[in-house]
């Protein structure tokens, strides 16, 4: 610690070089922080998904509906505690641009299926009494300024009404919030009965089922059993627990993993290679100064640690600044990819500092090591 002033003085000996080196490393670590932050964030979301709730969709594709009749059979599978369902509605409010994520379901099954959704019993009862009632998410209510009692006309490009009217009018009877604020509460839930009675096609079908199971460890077997019920029927199902489903969805996005990893690797390598080289050169240039330190009586070990200390302070500070910038920027970045509410995990910052330390050691150690064997007289003469 008493060597800190020496280290500080050594860093600022060539001001421009130090600042430029600092900037290069800061830039490298901003990228490191953001990229790893996003990956870690996605992992976080996946792990938050339930493994005691199964998701059942058509084996062919999510766009294929399943018959309502399957509900009773799924309920009868041992291990299944409760079953719910969801019918994707896909609507918009006034302009096609104002898309609303709407879904039709049996609200009485909601709490059993999704205990993490906060909704009052009165709202659930009101839905049972109001045929065209709607429950909207907190974020949606805030965004649109809607409140309980409002009558909202929605339109759908997929579904048509039997009476030929364009508008589906709903009365908001309750507002829900949920998922601990980690996932946006922006859906518009309506009564399946009303929806199914009024639509012209697809009657008696749903988009997917949810099944709560009592033993997460047996989720794979229970899933197989459910699929077995409908194998070789016209409506084969594919059942997975939510976590596996999300992992599959992410993998579906594309074979971009190679591409992204290659880019991060290339960027980090390039920036740190250039920086490391400059630091190496800097040490080599200062051999005469280090020789002066040795004539004062600093041991070889002390000189080596001084040099290393400088490099570590420089890289460490730059990495800290870069990761700090990434940390500050991550809320907006997470919001942009639809994962608002997450933050950069400490693991990323820890591994970032670790990488910085490695770069510092690799760049400064070889030339510093050589100072152990310099002849002081030659070094002072600049030879």
């Amino acid at each position: 610690m008493k060597y800190l002033p020496l280290i500080w003085a050594g860093l600022w000996r060539k001001r421009v070089r130090t600042i430029l080196t600092l900037m290069s490393v800061v830039v490298a670590f901003v990228l490191f922080g953001v990229m790893h932050g996003v990956t870690a964030g996605i992992d976080q979301i996946v792990n938050q998904m339930s493994d005691s709730r199964l998701r059942i969709q058509s084996r062919v594709n999510i766009t294929e509906p399943l018959p309502y009749a399957q509900l009773a059979r799924i309920e009868s599978v041992p291990g299944v505690m409760s079953v719910g369902f969801y019918n994707f509605v896909g609507a918009y409010y006034r302009e096609p641009r104002n898309g609303i994520s709407a879904g039709a379901m049996d609200i009485s099954r909601l709490k059993a299926m999704f205990p993490e959704v906060a909704i009052s019993q009165e709202a659930i009862d009101a839905m049972a009494q109001t045929r065209n009632g709607a429950l909207i998410g907190q974020d949606l209510a805030k965004e649109r300024g809607w409140k309980v009692g409002d009558r909202i006309p929605l339109r759908s490009t997929i579904w048509m009404r039997k009476d030929g009217a364009q508008d589906w009018t709903f009365e908001i009877v309750g507002i829900y919030s949920g998922f601990d604020g980690k996932v946006p509460s922006n859906e518009f839930w309506i009564n399946y009965q009303y929806f199914d009675e009024e639509r012209t096609f697809g009657n008696g079908t749903v988009t997917l089922y949810f099944a709560r199971i009592n033993e997460p460890a047996r989720s794979a077997q229970i899933a197989e059993q459910i699929d077995g019920l409908f194998a070789n029927s016209p409506n084969e199902t594919q059942t997975q627990n939510e976590r596996d489903w999300l992992r599959g969805r992410i993998a579906q996005i594309g074979n971009m993993a190679f591409f992204v990893n290659a880019i991060i690797g290339a960027v980090m390598f390039t920036l740190l290679f250039l920086t490391g080289n400059t630091m190496m050169q800097s040490v080599r240039e200062r051999i005469p100064e280090l020789a002066v330190l040795k004539t004062y009586g600093f041991s070889s070990a002390a000189v080596v640690s001084l040099v290393l200390g400088e490099a570590l302070v420089l890289c460490g500070a730059a990495a800290a600044i870069g990761l700090g910038i990434a940390q500050a920027a991550s809320p907006s970045i997470f919001r942009a990819i639809g994962a608002g509410g997450l933050s950069l995990p400490w693991g990323v910052i820890g591994s970032g500092l670790g990488v910085a330390a490695i770069v510092a050691i690799i760049s400064a150690l070889p030339p510093a090591w050589r100072t152990q064997r310099i002849s002081i007289v030659d070094a002072l003469a600049g030879r």
Binding site: I62, G254, F273
Partner: protein, 394 residues
């Protein structure tokens, strides 16, 4: 010695002595190579993606959707509407005299990706026989065309490459039915190459649907669009939106473009910034290592002009070399690669094209970075007091 001769002499001497400084010179080359390589690859990916989407359009084709639908999958057109659309003015005629309009149905099926065994969705498009006239770019490269009425399908080149079990003779399980792959087609690298094509009627009856998703028409001429659109949008019995095919696909690519655009800009800016700092740093070091040499030159009478231009020339040459290496590596690694990007209803399979224009931009960027990186150190070298510089031990 005239100024030009001076500049020439010092620059030539500088460049000839580069082999003695292989170590520090190669640092700049490698650094710039990395930067250019990454930028070329990332921009190449974004351009190739928009290309694949936008290429799927012809100026004399129009697409009709339900009013308000953002894309074909979320649009439903009833049978009554189809007849009116077919008989609208401005539609071309097939050789048999029918309206060149195809009422189409879209579906999706989950298949296994070849590369990593992950499950992903493939789009299926059911077309009418008039599609042959409307889409002349669809050409069979293997096998034969599907026969209407039979559950047969042809698969696009992209989907064939990306997914398992799409060989000729393989069976694909669509809703409650098994379909046989009988041919492979290509259509100029557009979005249809990522799909299966089959007969619309056969598909609709298998799915027990009577409504179509969209209608694609071939217009009598590019200019017929307005006539066609007005006729349909002013018709009180219809509730449709009409777009030129190009505009439709442009709109579809907007979301992907925005996202990838953000990623590209972010990575590009970071790379360029980092490259700039690193290049500046390295050139400063290179110049300071040769302070005595440069001072000697000035002491014997060479002017500042020669010194500055020689340093700039060196920076430029090294950056240019680095750019060539980086662009070359990016081209080797990524050009012609097939990439698949998907969502729940389909996967767009497209080829990465690293075009000469892109390579050129990368090289230009590198040269600019090199120039800026060399300028400041060069000026510094030229202005250092000669006596001090001669005594410098760097």
């Amino acid at each position: 010695m005239s100024v030009l001769n001076q500049i020439g002499a010092v620059t030539a001497m500088n460049l000839r002595s580069i082999p003695r400084r292989v170590g520090s010179s190669s640092v700049i080359v490698i650094g710039i190579a990395g930067v250019v390589g990454v930028i070329v690859a990332v921009f190449g990916m974004t351009r190739s993606l928009s290309q694949a989407l936008v290429d799927t359009g012809r100026p004399d084709r129009a697409i009709v959707l339900r009013s308000g639908a953002q894309n074909e999958t979320s649009s439903t057109l009833l049978v009554d509407a189809l007849a009116t659309i077919r008989n609208a003015p401005g539609v071309a005629r097939t050789s048999a005299g029918d309206a060149a309009a195809s009422a189409e149905m879209l579906a999706s099926v989950n298949l296994i990706r070849r590369e990593d065994g992950a499950q992903a969705a493939v789009g299926v498009r059911g077309v009418e026989p008039t599609s042959a006239t409307i889409r002349p770019e669809v050409k069979l490269v293997d096998g034969r065309m599907f026969r209407p009425g039979l559950r047969e399908t042809i698969v696009g080149r992209g989907a064939h490459h990306e997914f398992n079990n799409l060989e000729i003779g393989d069976r694909v399980g669509l809703r409650d039915s098994q379909w046989t792959v009988v041919g492979v087609f290509e259509s100029g690298g557009d979005a249809n190459e990522s799909r299966l094509l089959t007969d619309a009627q056969t598909l609709m009856s298998a799915y027990k649907r009577t409504a179509a998703n969209s209608v694609t028409v071939l217009l009598a001429s590019e200019g017929s669009f307005d006539e066609f659109k007005t006729a349909l949008t002013t018709n009180p019995t219809l509730s449709v939106s009409v777009e030129r095919e190009r505009d439709y696909y442009q709109r579809q690519s907007e979301d992907a473009n925005t996202f990838f655009g953000l990623v590209t800009t972010f990575v590009g800016v970071i790379m360029a910034l980092g490259a700039l700092f690193a290049a500046l740093n390295t050139m400063y070091s290179a110049v300071s290592a040769r302070t005595v040499e440069i001072a000697t030159l000035r002491a014997i009478g060479f002017g500042a002009g020669g010194v500055v231009s020689s340093v700039l020339a060196e920076a430029l040459l090294l950056s240019f070399t680095g750019a060539l290496v980086g662009a070359g590596v990016a081209w080797l690694l990524f050009n012609g690669n097939t990439v698949g990007i998907g969502n729940t209803v389909g996967t767009l399979v497209f080829q990465m094209h690293i075009t000469p224009a892109l390579l050129g931009s990368g090289v230009l960027l590198a040269c600019i970075v090199g120039l800026i990186g060399g300028l400041l150190p060069a000026l510094r070298a030229a202005r250092m007091p000669v006596a001090t510089a001669l005594r410098a031990t760097a």
